[in-house]
Symmetry: C2
Subunit: 219 residues, 2 copies
């Protein structure tokens, strides 16, 4: 989506001198106002320049990539999340691993009655304990899980972009997707697990957008 040299010249003029009227731009370029119209239309259309009636053209700094950003921002966690794989707090570490293998996931969520998130156990957590020689059959999953207070979560309505940023910034493989638990008598801050957002989900979205299929599937 390249601009012509004249369009780039106009964009630069609007950036440095804006707001500037079409007449002023035409004068500086020694062309007629009519001749400028297609170029200005393109710049406005591209989002790079905006027109304000009775004021003139001003620069927005947007480009194709910003438009993409807006597009990506419309995709929400609920549009791409996976189903959560859960075990209850009473499960043994051994059975948690069996669940991981059966479901082929890197981590399982440990939940209390009502689907309340209690913790997360990953392959890494179990491997660490197994290496230490502990008997996984006798060890409750509660002992080795990361407790809910230390877990980074996301919500169904969060834009996938900020959720992906959480994954990168906190160096985790997945985020539990949670909603406030609204059962009677719940403690404040209790959350029900409704999904799982993984780097696989993000990679899949990346492929779909990259292949030009993102616009139709989401939002």
């Amino acid at each position: 989506m390249g601009l012509t040299p004249r369009q780039e010249k106009i964009a630069e003029m609007v950036r440095t001198l804006g707001p500037i009227t079409g007449e002023q731009i035409a004068e500086r370029l020694s062309v007629t106002r009519a001749a400028l119209r297609p170029d200005l239309a393109i710049l406005v259309m591209s989002g790079m320049v905006e027109a304000r009636p009775k004021v003139g053209y001003y620069y927005t700094g947007k480009n194709t990539l910003s438009l993409l950003t807006e597009q990506v921002n419309r995709i929400k966690v609920k549009d791409v999340q996976s189903v959560p794989v859960v075990v209850t707090t009473g499960t043994s570490a051994y059975d948690a691993v069996v669940t991981m293998f059966l479901e082929d996931v890197g981590s399982v969520y440990v939940v209390e009655p009502g689907g309340i998130l209690g913790g997360v156990v990953s392959r890494k957590d179990v491997l660490k304990v197994a290496m230490g020689g502990s008997d996984l059959h006798k060890m409750p999953v509660k002992v080795l899980m990361t407790p809910v207070t230390k877990i980074i979560t996301t919500t169904p309505e969060e834009p996938i972009l900020t959720a992906a940023k959480k994954i990168i910034d906190n160096e985790v493989d997945s985020l539990p997707v949670v909603v406030p638990a609204n059962l009677r008598g719940n403690k404040v801050h209790e959350h029900e697990v409704v999904g799982r957002l993984t780097k696989t989900n993000i990679t899949r979205v990346f492929v779909e957008i990259g292949e030009g299929r993102g616009g139709d599937s989401y939002g």
Copy 2:
């Protein structure tokens, strides 16, 4: 980047009737050729329509998303890959796990002399063996690795998009980045490991593009 109703009408006309000249479009819309110019310029600029001299306008089917695709396709594996974490074929399974923990990676590459890729061992592979009660100290990593013949790889010059697609399609967490080994006496098809492409790398690119930083950072 929305089109006006008239632009959409023109795009549809070009799609169904193209190649079609500007005069023909103007006639069908009962407007002057001059009045059409900005709309046609925008459609050409957006990439959706192309103009062929002495033939007319024809439809390309491209849109903003396709332009994004082109942009994403310029990012190569070498622009985003991580350094490979390797152990040698003689390493024990136990020491391979220690390396995984020290480097905080989900899998390590097993290499032969000269950095030739021999296999991959993941947390999952080791966990499976550990659950079976085997002594990891006595087990060579060679026994539990996925051999090179079954490994999906990528190259430094591959577009990140097709590499990401390999990760999704083959349900793997990472791809070794390899180049043909050019040492004397190598067997055909031997490859040297030069990097590691993970879902973390892809997720990071996704965040960077989504935040509008992709265009400057790559290719």
